[in-house]
Symmetry: D2
């Protein structure tokens, strides 16, 4: 027996792992960061069980290479994501901590609102 809470946590993990490995390596600059943030958010929001996603690519850490741009690396991600399975809602984050792009569950609770139809 797998509970809704456990499934919501599993689904949140899937989306964060997917997000990291899909977008790492993409060319980026401070000027293009927001268009990439929106594209990532729209892309992630398509996936099943996702109820919300907020992506920030930390501008201060976008360091130009000799050709004047950078690429998406683990230290750029600042992501908050929500999933829902049944009545369980999971909120999880991806953020760079202690030299590692850490993915964590920050809340796993009964949902505030009824499920959408």
């Amino acid at each position: 027996m797998i509970s809704d809470r456990e499934k919501a946590a599993f689904e949140a993990g899937i989306k964060l792992g997917a997000l990291y490995h899909q977008w790492v390596g993409a060319p980026i600059s401070i000027a293009t960061a927001s268009s990439l943030e929106r594209a990532i958010e729209e892309s992630v929001a398509l996936q099943p069980f996702v109820t919300g996603v907020k992506v920030r690519l930390v501008h201060d850490r976008i360091i130009s290479n000799p050709f004047g741009y950078s690429e998406v690396k683990g230290d750029l991600f600042d992501v908050e994501l929500s999933t829902r399975v049944g009545h369980a809602c999971c909120r999880a984050t991806l953020a760079y901590k202690g030299g590692y792009p850490l993915m964590s569950i920050v809340a796993l609770d009964p949902c505030d609102r009824p499920a959408p139809d």
Copy 2:
């Protein structure tokens, strides 16, 4: 409060989502499939909380393009992965079902064995 079971499910999700999006698109043929399977397994096994991983790229679905090779697509994956957090052990799979590369928890139980040191 997040339980060990929920964390083990979250970690299993991370690894499956990561695996899919890291390796999709890689050139492959039947002749090279097993070397790629081993490379994926060794790579995934490095990640935290992973206690086992078995990757098969379904040979029957490796269809040659006009240049005599193929690429890793969602229908090729047949993966089983185990994670452990504290005393909770999660077993999850990635397999192509109903036209979708589905990720599922197949077991989430107290671990059989004591944790390694």
Copy 3:
């Protein structure tokens, strides 16, 4: 001795190969295709020697999976890209032809305009 024409061709190849393998696998739907097209264009345009890029993800081939979205695959790409090295300008395309995402040089000529400063 490598000519500017040869270098411009090499640079065009780099960008098309990079583009394909960076973005393949990203979740997409018809509703999100244009935001992803813009993000890819802005990303590719950052790279050295690129003078122009036009990305279309062919809407007719965005087929929904059972969860109502799709992912970027080889048959979606319709890309035209220009590079310049010295006085040589290369125009190259990525398009799905004969069951393969084919990359081709379509023109390699002296540039019409003087180089930007």
Copy 4:
């Protein structure tokens, strides 16, 4: 008119750009580097016009994160690749120079040997 030399340069560019963006982000350690090097070589060798490929992931730059492994980044690649189109043979490299994963043509010559059948 595009010459064989120009096409060989274009094809070499495609393969190096593809290689970089396919494999960047993959979990790696010194213990798993050689299995990944072999998998990349076998994968790249499948692609059209490739006549040789040698991949080294520079061990000295595989720096462990807090969880005891690392991931493939731009500074790890040391790649040499050969392509052939008609009678033209191109040798190109990917190596980290001046803070950038630089792709360069190192030779573009008439081939030493007749084309394989």
